[in-house]
Point group: C2
Chain length 394, copies 2
């Protein structure tokens, strides 16, 4: 089979099965995006084995989550996000301590080594803003104050998670270099703060120049350059590319026209199913059939859910009980950063293959429970902005 | 540098430089897409060497040309295309004989072997519908009867080009299997005819089912499944994926809503620069500095241009002179199929490295001269459908 046929087949199977299961899940009132993750599980090594994780899919998945965060950023007004800034900061910190301790403690309880426990704890720290944002956006809930708090906290959490990762991987390699660590922390927080705060003004200042461009769809072209540029800058300062993508969207959000939103939605709609199915593709179930592993997996999943719910809920000062629950639930899903920690632990020889499989399963588990829980937590909240206007799957 | 940083850097450099040169070229009144090809030439191995052809870029380029043809198909009404069917068929056949003979003859004149000459001739047969479609669409000229003829002829030409390739590569391997060849030819033509003719009816018949879907953006999702499915089917019957992509767009064209057009435009706008810059990336200039090679290259380029212009123009029966010139010019660009022939010839040891480089340069050359020539040929023709409505670069 020629390479091009192979790619076309992958596109068809992954996209087609994701949408097919999304439709099935919607019909039994489960968010469609859970169906898309299950599609990856179904067609991947875990069940049918039709599709294996491959560089081609990984590229599309990477672009997908980048566009997802960009498109979410486009819906977030910087002023509103800064209005909940202090609470978001507290929530993010609250979501680091408890998950880390519970992951580490459980692993130690099950007889794992100190370093093994520390890696598991670190992997449970970072919230996957992508999943939560997808659910909130597709349900028209991004306008709600608690949603803004979740998004802000999740972005800060991503930064904190990568710092924890830096500490942990440093510790695994040998004695820590505190000076270098402080530099990394400072650079990351500085980048987020500066771009978040001044991004919109910079975009506004450059707007007159953009209107003078003669290329067709110049607004979209300039937006893409900003998206790719800030994603790259984010990686260089030590945070994930998606943080830069989110900041690019947010910087453009006050000035973005409908055409930019439509075109970005097109790229997002095409690519996001590859991100979601890609999560399911990474789950390996062979090792998980052992009862002891299943127990550890279940215990870690419960700990991962409760630790964020309680840790973030408690720290969401100035919110009433209902909003504390919403914020806590919104912080549950773990994703990209957790996977990065897992892969690093595996490649460093700290995490065993079986603990790696458990960790991936727990990350996917938190991702799968979040959308239905969010739907329950936000019951009765009015949806604003039609779903068709936002480029997402329920 | 981590993998993700590498990808973000590639995205930024390729997309950014493509749009930058497109803007520069527009300002000196050269179509922007020529600038995007030159951007690939500039950042690629030919000049600066910043970016090398790589699987990641190749994937995006492949998706880009698929979406380009899909988006073009969306603008083509099947009834109008079938209205020019007979002329298109004649034009396509006319565009096979003369280019093949001139490519083969020139190579023999310059002392190449028989097989070498046959490969060069075969490589000059197939018109790249992508480039012409891009120019016609971005200038709002798709409605014109000559444009419809060009598109129809280019699609048939793609099929014929792949048949010539099958003959040639069969001849290089040993005695020809005429039975297998006839089967391939029949399958390919049958596929194009059936999907082209019944595609729209099938889509219309399925439309009521689509409206019952509960997933968000269901029209886009169904369209993508059709796009990937027909692209795959096209490869299986022996033609290029882009032929399937074009047929998918055309099948949807009468019923497609504005939302589907907008979302497809977004994916197209994102991906097409990678296709265009990818053409430039593939040019290697080292071998071309020798005067003899430069002469052969120039002679082949002139022959490639004139043979299509004359061969197709003569066969465009029932058109007045002006339209014959337009059709002839529209058939000039060679692209994907020519590159496929070149790569195959190289890997079979039939084409030398230097003849490979010459062939790629000639393909790119025909691609670069076509947009300005088309702009001249269509001078005075009214543009219909705003450029902003169509997802293309001038």
């Amino acid at each position: 089979m020629p390479e091009s046929a192979h790619h076309a087949l992958i596109l068809l199977i992954v996209f087609g099965s994701a949408k097919f299961l999304a439709e099935l899940f919607e019909r039994i009132r489960v968010p469609g995006m859970v169906g898309e993750i299950f599609a990856g599980l179904l067609i991947g090594p875990a069940v049918l084995g039709w599709i294996q994780p491959a560089p081609f899919l990984e590229s599309l998945s990477e672009l997908g989550v980048m566009f997802l965060l960009f498109r979410v950023g486009l819906e977030v007004k910087p002023a509103e996000l800064f209005g909940v800034g202090k609470t978001a900061m507290l929530v993010a910190v609250g979501g680091v301590v408890l998950p880390f301790l519970s992951g580490w403690g459980l692993m130690r309880l099950f007889g794992a080594t100190q370093l093994d426990g520390i890696f598991m704890g670190a992997a449970l720290v970072a919230t996957s803003v992508g999943i939560t944002a997808q659910v909130l956006a597709s349900r028209g809930l991004l306008w709600h104050k608690s949603s803004q708090t979740i998004l802000g906290a999740a972005v800060i959490d991503d930064v904190l998670g990568l710092l924890v990762l830096a500490v942990v991987s440093g510790a695994a390699k040998g004695p820590l270099n505190y000076g270098q660590l402080a530099t990394t922390a400072f650079m990351a927080l500085f980048f987020v703060a500066i771009v978040g705060y001044y991004g919109t003004r910079a975009v506004d200042a450059l707007a007159p120049a953009q209107t003078k461009l003669r290329i067709v769809e110049s607004e979209f072209s300039v937006a893409m350059v900003l998206l790719f540029g800030l994603s790259l800058a984010a990686i260089y300062v030590g945070v994930a590319a998606i943080v830069g993508a989110f900041l690019a969207g947010m910087a453009l959000s006050p000035s973005a026209g409908q055409r930019l939103r439509d075109l970005s939605s097109g790229a997002t709609e095409l690519l996001v199913p590859f991100f979601l199915a890609g999560i399911g593709l990474k789950v390996q179930v062979e090792g998980l059939k052992d009862p002891g592993c299943l127990l550890l997996c279940g215990a870690l999943l419960v700990a991962a859910i409760l630790s964020k719910l309680v840790g973030c809920g408690i720290c969401a000062v100035g919110n009433e009980m209902r909003d504390r629950v919403r914020i806590g639930v919104g912080m549950i899903p773990r994703g990209e950063v957790g996977m990065v920690v897992a892969q690093l632990g595996l490649s460093m020889g700290v995490l065993s293959q079986i603990h790696y499989a458990i960790l991936v399963a727990v990350c996917v588990g938190t991702t799968v429970v979040a959308p239905p829980l969010l739907a329950i937590a936000y019951r009765g909240v009015e949806a604003k902005g039609s779903a068709a206007e936002y480029p997402a799957l329920h």
